[in-house]
Amino acid sequence: MASERRAESHDLGYISRFRGTVFQTLTRAASLVGVVALALLLVFITIDAVRPTTADPAWYAVVVSTFVLPTLLFAAYSRRHSAVGAVAVRACGATVGGAALATVLIIWLGDQLGPLTLIGVIVPTLVVGAVLARGREALGVGLQTAGVAAAGATVATVGALFLGAQATLVYAVALGVPMAALGWFFLSRPAIGSVGAHAIIWAAIAAALTSVVVEIGSAFAGVRLGETALAVYALGAMVGVLGYAIYARAYRDGGIVGLLAPFVPLAAVLAGYLFHREFVITTPVTPLLYLALVGVPTIAVAARTLSREGRGRIGVVLPLVPVVGAAAVLAFHNRFLLTGPTVLGTFGLAIGLSFGVYAWRLDTRRGADADSTPGTSVDSSDGGATAHSEGRLGLLAPLVVFGGLLAGLLGARAFGIAGPQTWLDVQFLLSDSHYEAALAGLHPALIGSLYVGLMVAILSFPVGVGAAIYLEEYAPENRWTRLLEVNIGNLAGVPSVVYGLLGVGVFVRYAGLPLGALIVGGFTLSLLILPIVIISAQEAIRAVPDSLRQASYGMGSTRWQTIRNVVLPEALPGILTGTILALGRAVGETAPLLMVGYAAVSGVPDSLTGQGTAMPLQVFSWARDAQPLFRENLAAAGALTMLIVMLAMNGIAILIRNKYQTQS
């Protein structure tokens, strides 16, 4: 028996791999089917939207010789010099980022965007930033505050759109100047500053919560509170300050003066309101609040960060610069409408700026490298920085790529060579709906989608992340928690039409909001992606190593301190990635928006209860149009725009993930 087996094992011949090979082939085919189908679809859409056959062959020759060939040559060169390649990729990335920013600015701000806007916002920021950057510590602080301010400015822009130019100016000045003075005062007295900054943040949060409750309540009750609402918000803010004083026992240790700090922005807003009312007859209360809620915490957070670090104090002024600049320019915006040169200027400024920042950072990193003695450090990023300084040639990449493209396009036009008669052009992105295909555009739908996306992000992010934190960090391990988690998982699988029905039932029928209101779509889509946000945030939180929590608890942190200082910062990239992907889904949804009465053909939504519209609805309606131009070309151009938006969102998610993965 044994000898028989041994005799067989001497045979070193062929062993069949037939089943394995078949399996491998099948899996490869499976992955190809999806990719190829999608690629084909994309190609067809692109052909319909861009119509490459309408271009003169000479046009292709020009573009290939100025753009494609040099790009390929440069790519081949950087393949052999990896340092150059790394810089080239990043430099192109910075440039593309700048171009994307410019596109968003142009489409979003549309006719409010003039050259002065750009000069008013970007140039002062740049100048102040450059001055601050002379000291490295100040640079760090400046970037930090600028980040906070950028987030604030984004929301403030929404407020400005509703508020109008003069009001923005009034509030920016009324609020900004006292807050800057306050921040300055905080810096010289850290004890008071800490209490003051905390008190302001608490007051702002309390006022925000009050406003949400009051706004929703009054909307449901059908009552317009008008100016009374202001008093209620102020009351909420005061309760917040009181809550903080009790919670932190802030009245001890001489910090009690800091408790007066929230009165400064409050008085400022009130003064601005009273002053402003003299000039403008109709003043919506809500937008006023947006501005206050954004500006105040921004500066308070900045002041708090600074008072804690005690370094680079001058950086506190930085967030004020773009706000004041934007306000000043918006005041004159009516005179400067969107023109060709403005568009070009926007692109040029944004691209040049981001590229310049990148090149400048490269330079400072190189300088920092030269300072430190080589060999003593085990820092892994040092290798990267050295590679950067070697690969400075890569900085030319954007010039080759985009300069070549621009030269080709302009050159062809100069010699009268016709390019493709594309449907997806600036006119398409900036025009309203029109019965003539050549004049029709996606602008209202694009902006509508942008607003819905913003609203969904603002609504679903805090709720979703909050639920995930509760489930992962607080909830006890019992059957109720499990039931909750299982149900959230099930909700993620509920068809979107059902959410549409829910939206109509709850927000329109029960709450009495108008059918088709922008806010109804926002609420409905927020509910739709909430389970996805919760689940992805839960996964991100679960991925935070337990050793970090242990370390924090071992230092004597409370659970809240551990979550705030250790768990959330570590989980944030994952949470953001998941949320952005979910947002992508929300922006592409059609069915629930149809259910809640969104329109395909409409103007840009003018208020939260105004008629909502979104890209997929517009594409849907074009695709059903009787005229072939609408059906084939416009629908394709709209679909392509949507795909580009989705890809950009997914790309941002991937970038965030990669950036933080390489760090840890």
Binding site: D379, S547, S557, S664
Partner: protein, 304 residues
């Protein structure tokens, strides 16, 4: 229920392979049946400490039992740890030495199934009393873990973390510098305090964790096999550091490495399988002339 109990008693007995340990486990529910030797040793310990040759007692455990669900991890541990000395806890895997360490700063509270009975006194106060907040307790007791676990923040922020969460009104820059100097890390990182702590080497990270622990000036520092994940050079740096720290702090260190315990500790406690403290004495005494045969077997490598 029955199947659970069976598992609880079967498993350790099977893995021990020794009838003595099996017996101990069988006597689990009833403490009076514990083997004679252990009781004698505990009595010895008490006598030794009565001599007060090792300074004042700062931590004292009295009849400490710890259970994880149905499994008992520590059995009736009686131990007095002297102030400003290095006390080593050695023993084979799964003998409960880390569990004991985590009882001192109540880190076991974070484990849902853990249950602690008996007393553990810090400066005479039982830390398991109802009026003791575990968070406040942990602020007095620093901890260094087996694997270096710096926060993914800058070096500076890591050391300043304790100051920040405790809202200590001190000159943060000065405390950070002082702590890093005491942790023998200052010279290596002083030029890059704002770089990520994760860029440091393993040994540097562990010294950073020590700096983080001492920045808030705790009374006791607990170390859970702090050098087991490090190379020999980093290990010897950590050992030197521990000896220096003992001038100002009480250090309790769990280690797998008996040579390490012999080199750096003043007192040594030997835990053996089943969560019993078998012998506790001056380190010289334990390594040269242990009272218990089982401890001698363990130290000479015949067991464990």
């Amino acid at each position: 229920m029955t199947s659970n109990e069976n598992r609880a008693t079967d498993e350790p007995a099977a893995s021990d392979g020794g009838f003595a340990a099996g017996e101990t486990k069988a006597g689990d529910p009833d403490q009076t049946e514990a083997p004679l030797i252990e009781t004698n040793v505990t009595a010895d310990v008490d006598d030794d400490d009565g001599g007060a040759s090792f300074g004042t007692t700062i931590i004292e455990s009295r009849g400490l039992d710890v259970f994880y669900g149905d499994d008992q991890a520590l059995q009736d541990v009686n131990l007095e740890i002297p102030e400003n000395q290095v006390t080593a806890i050695i023993g084979p895997s799964g003998c409960g030495k880390s569990t004991f360490l985590r009882c001192i700063n109540r880190m076991n509270d974070l484990v849902d199934v853990a249950r602690v009975e008996g007393e553990l006194r810090l400066n005479g106060k039982n830390v398991y009393d109802d009026d003791v907040d575990p968070v406040a307790l942990r602020r007095k007791i620093g901890m260094v873990f087996q694997h270096p676990n710096p926060f993914p923040k800058s070096i500076y922020d890591n050391v300043a973390y304790g100051l920040e969460i405790q809202d200590k009104d001190v000159d943060t820059d000065a405390v950070v510098e002082e702590s890093l100097k005491r942790a023998a890390l200052w010279d290596e990182v002083k030029d890059r305090l704002d770089e990520s702590a994760l860029d440091l080497s393993g040994g540097q990270q562990q010294r950073l964790c020590i700096a983080r622990a001492i920045a808030v000036d705790p009374e006791v520092i607990l170390m859970d096999e702090p050098a087991s994940a490090l190379d020999p050079i980093a290990t010897s740096q950590i050992e030197d550091l521990i000896e220096e720290l003992a001038e100002e702090y009480t250090v309790v260190i769990v280690t797998h490495n008996m040579q390490q315990a012999a080199r750096i500790s003043d007192m040594t406690a030997v835990f053996l399988t089943g969560g019993e403290l078998v012998e506790y004495d001056a380190t010289d005494q334990i390594f040269e002339n242990p009272a218990s045969q089982r401890v001698e077997d363990y130290i000479t490598g015949k067991f464990g």
